[in-house]
């Protein structure tokens, strides 16, 4: 959100932007998880880039909005409307849920990635045949 000419952005306006960012970031997390499960690498990369921008701006805003010393020091005309505050908390809670699922998915998927990377790195691994006439067994092993 661009600053209008003149003084600093009023709190309620910042809070409104904060809410929008929370929702956008939540949407990006969903998008990234969808991209991961459909193996769409490009989509994932785009989403993560977007997430980085959004989360950076969110952190900054959250810091600005919460750095108020004590009750009564904020002029009543510049306080965040209680309805908006409630929406922010609800969106933040939802983002937290998504973030939890996202972090687990990243854990599992990155282990798969590591496994595959190890496999491809050691494609020249030894193959040995186990004696026996009915089944031919070959064993491949690698360090993961």
């Amino acid at each position: 959100m661009r600053m209008t000419g003149g003084g600093p952005q009023p709190r309620s306006q910042k809070a409104g932007e904060h809410l929008q960012l929370l929702r956008s970031l939540a949407a990006e997390l969903e998008r990234a998880m969808q991209a991961i499960s459909s193996n769409n690498l490009l989509e994932l990369e785009e989403s993560v880039a977007s997430q980085q921008d959004l989360s950076a701006r969110l952190s900054q805003l959250a810091g600005e909005l919460s750095s108020f010393p004590s009750a009564g020091s904020v002029p009543v005309t510049d306080s965040i409307p209680s309805g908006l505050m409630r929406e922010i908390r609800a969106s933040a809670a939802e983002l937290e849920h998504l973030n939890l699922r996202y972090s687990y998915l990243l854990q599992h998927s990155s282990r798969s990635v590591a496994l595959m990377a190890s496999f491809f790195n050691s494609v020249k691994g030894q193959l040995k045949e186990v004696p026996g006439d009915r089944l031919k067994l070959q064993t491949w092993s690698c360090q993961a």
């Binding site: 209680s82 309805g83 409630r86 929406e87 908390r89 609800a90 937290e96």
Partner: protein, 300 residues
Amino acid sequence: MRVNTNIVPNMVADLDQSQATLNTLLQEVATGKSVNAPSDNPTAAAQMVQNTLDAANVDRYTQNISSALSQVQQAGSVLSSVVTSLTQAVSLGTEGANGTNNNTSLSVLAQQVQSILSSVISQANTSVGGVYLFGGTASGAAPYAADASSPSGYTYNGNNDANSIVVGDSLNVQVNLPGSQVFSNSGNNVVGALSSLVTALQSGNSAQISSAATAVNSTIDFISQAQGFYSNAASQLNSQESYLQQETVTLTTQQNNLVGADMAKVAPELSQAETDNSAALAAAAKVLPATLLNYLAPPG
């Protein structure tokens, strides 16, 4: 051969998600709260525990202040009327000491002062909500009872203790003075002084009457100090009450932030969730084999 089952897990997952969303919103509408289970928002649920305790305590403190204030206010007005009575007794005594009275008028004056003493005693026995204001911490009987064997004709049956009432997390306020401190204090004995004035008037001795009237007069200052105690207690209680009102707002706001459901927001979300759920079920019905459909629970 590996079965390609990648369509089914997606669909079932979507279905589970839409059903879960629907269930959550239905619960919100029913209870008016957006957090039912701690799992919905563990941090909020944990914070609500302290909020619940604080809110109950603040509520109780407020009630305690309310009943304390009425005791304090009542005590203050008792003392005001006692001051009036004492002033009147002094002027009666002054009149009786001026040497112009005969036995009859002295006798009348004595009766008038006696009647003032009775009314002061009955004021000292005031109770509010079943609690005697000037009995110390004793309960049951009235603080002052008639006692022929006592020089003043009255005995104090209360005690010399005072309780402090809890009105804040670390705030206890004393709201009572025992009668033994106010009315029958050995240094400034209101009851004794009045009773002595009656005796003096009955005796007719001007010097005695004069000195008894002076003694009554000096208790007026003493009562004023007692009045100071009560008005000080009242202002402590009043400012604590204001603080608690702010606390109540803070706690209510916090509670709304933690668990309040914004009804205006929930209703449209609910209808969307119901649409989503129906759509997901319809889509699933087209794709999934019958056996799997039997497994899926119907909506609602």
